[in-house]
Symmetry: none
Subunit: 145 residues, 2 copies
Amino acid sequence: MRKSLTDRIEEYIKVLINRSDQQQIEIQRAELAETFSCVPSQVTYVLATRFTVKHGYITESKRGGKGFVRITRVTPHAGSDSRLKADIQELVAHLKEDRHIGESEARLIRQLLITLFTELSPEQRQLVLSRLVKDIGLYVGWQTD
Amino acid sequence: MRKSLTDRIEEYIKVLINRSDQQQIEIQRAELAETFSCVPSQVTYVLATRFTVKHGYITESKRGGKGFVRITRVTPHAGSDSRLKADIQELVAHLKEDRHIGESEARLIRQLLITLFTELSPEQRQLVLSRLVKDIGLYVGWQTD
DNA sequence: TATAGATAAAGGTCAATGATAGTCAAAGGA
DNA sequence: TCCTTTGACTATCATTGACCTTTATCTATA
């Protein structure tokens, strides 16, 4: 996919948040716009379309001297983990039935999926997924680059 | 039979998908139309008549600047597999909601899980799983021997 | 010294424009 | 008749810039 300016700014912000501890960064709107050689309102647009609560982010700001834009990634709320775990239980149960997978492999799969999706950070997860692409690709002939 | 424009565009798209690594391509509607010297809506027509879910394809698109049309071939599978796929769809949908995973990562995860559980042989699957144990173990400190 | 008003330094809003893709109905052709 | 082809019109997403609002700081004056 050809990346738009909006896409690139979005990525950039996410990298900054990933690097931060506290899942939070503060930027100067004008400065970020300068970095990407665009108008400041472009940044506002990116925030409005890619960093909403629905996307899992909260943005706050202050105008005037010493102003800033603060972007915080909110961690998924507690109850959600149990739903994912239930999904995984279900998936593995069906795997056992349909694909004749034994209990020990089933246990392993359960553990792997739970760890992958509920314990790893987004960055770690992406690293693991990209290696998984390579590994699986070996068998199904995907071209990885 | 004399090939219609629609036939030729269909063929062309299928060649592109065959060459692609992940059974998926992204095109610019206008550009493809240009290639075949026809109106853009002709491309829409081809997609609507030859690349439906029934034919084994999923199409997605985005309008506006840097827009695209994405065409994915989904491999058809026997009865019980559809239950696993439904499980995977559900799991990924919940992941998107709860863990704020974007569409592109979601697609990757779906593809990986489907391949891992419905396309690989038991032996291949076990090899991949053992690699996965190692990879994830790196991050969570599992002792692998 | 206290403070009101001026000025500077942020960020916000919104409408216009550009860049894509989608819809639909009419016309064409085998 | 049924499928294909075309094009005018529509919908959506991205980008820009003029104008607005808020906050901090400076300055003149009682």
